[in-house]
């Protein structure tokens, strides 16, 4: 098999597994996507990852779009489609099956225990994602200020996060953060 096919296969396998681990959605598996695409497969640098994540966040749509962009970066448009399909299909099948079971056993106590048990682990994983992204994106104290300010505004106010992203990009345009 050529290197290209191997890359496509790796994308399919990787995101297929992540799909079933993504409790709480794509935000919980950012560290694993980062580890795989930067350290294991060398599809991109740390900086590329931060840039792609930023693009995915500012695009309309669900936040698993980071997998689409990682697939695109690794293997072009076929890669993007395979990564997206692999990220969706396994968890979709599981959900489809689980809905039927759920409707049958809706009041069983194990259901609540599973939900309540997974929740804090998911929160820890989303904090991990934040940490990985901060390390990749904030190469100077000025950028760290932008990150902190965005986090504070989004957490404490009801302002649309898109305004914060637009402001951060506009600040970047002025050149006060320099260029890489």
């Amino acid at each position: 098999m050529s290197a290209y096919w191997l890359t496509l296969r790796a994308l399919g396998v990787q995101f297929g597994i992540l799909s079933l681990l993504a409790f709480g959605g794509a935000n919980a598996v950012i560290p694993e996507i980062h580890r795989q695409s930067v350290a294991v497969h060398h599809w991109m640098t740390d900086k590329d990852f931060a840039a792609l994540f930023a693009i995915a966040q500012s695009a309309p749509g669900p936040n698993f779009l980071i997998s689409t962009l990682v697939g695109w970066k690794a293997a072009g448009i076929p890669g993007a489609l395979i990564a997206t399909a692999a990220m969706c299909a396994p968890s979709c099948l599981l959900t489809f099956w689980a809905v039927k079971a759920w409707d049958r056993y809706r009041d069983h106590p194990w259901r609540a225990a599973i939900g309540a048990g997974i929740a804090p682990v998911t929160v820890g994983l989303v904090f991990s994602s934040a940490y990985v992204l901060v390390r990749a994106a904030d190469s100077s104290w000025r950028l760290a200020v932008v990150t902190t300010a965005t986090a504070a505004v989004v957490y404490f106010t009801k302002l649309d996060p898109l305004w914060c992203l637009a402001a951060a990009a506009a600040l970047g345009l002025t050149g006060i953060f320099g260029t890489p």
Binding site: F23, G61, T68, T84, S91, A116, L125, A130, A168, A169
Partner: protein, 165 residues
């Protein structure tokens, strides 16, 4: 249609469309369905559309709902990726992306904090150790996610199970 309105998260828009405009779900149905979707892996919003689609018209409903949700955003983001590939080298684009990336990281911090807040308020004793353990293992030590989940999730579920019974 819902999907394209959803910058940085589609959930509030989905709720408005499903509960308020189409009345396919009551508010209680919506919350219950969402909590099911949140305890399954995969993007919540995709799981939600599977569930709504499946209840409406079986597997065909699910396929239609997911395709409707995912199709357009995927095309848009690939287009953005291609543009970035072509113009990403320009200095102005790079400057904007650097700022954008810092902002996006802040967004994820806020998301994590919002998720943590109710858990820590209601049951800090059983939640905090697992939040911290997952953060240290995956965030700081960069351990592979499958192993971390395999250890932490059953432990946390077992504790909640004990509490309940």
């Amino acid at each position: 249609m819902i999907a394209l309105q959803g910058f940085g998260g589609v959930l509030p828009f989905a709720r408005r469309a499903l509960v308020e405009q189409r009345t396919w779900l009551t508010p209680d149905d919506f919350n219950e369905t969402l909590s099911l979707c949140q305890s399954l892996p995969g993007p919540n919003i995709v799981n939600l559309s599977i569930t709504v689609g499946a209840r409406a018209c079986g597997w065909r409903g699910s396929v239609a709902a997911v395709a409707g949700l995912v199709g357009a955003p995927v095309v848009v983001v690939i287009a953005l990726g291609v543009l970035y590939g072509r113009f990403g080298g320009l200095e102005l684009v790079q400057r904007a992306i650097i700022g954008l990336a810092a902002g996006a990281a802040g967004l994820v911090i806020a998301t994590a904090a919002r998720m943590a807040e109710p858990l820590l308020r209601r049951r800090a004793l059983t939640a905090a150790p697992f939040i911290l353990a997952a953060f240290v293992a995956v965030g700081i030590f960069r351990l592979p996610l499958p192993y971390v989940l395999l250890v932490l999730a059953p432990l946390s579920i077992a504790i909640m199970w004990k509490r309940a019974s």
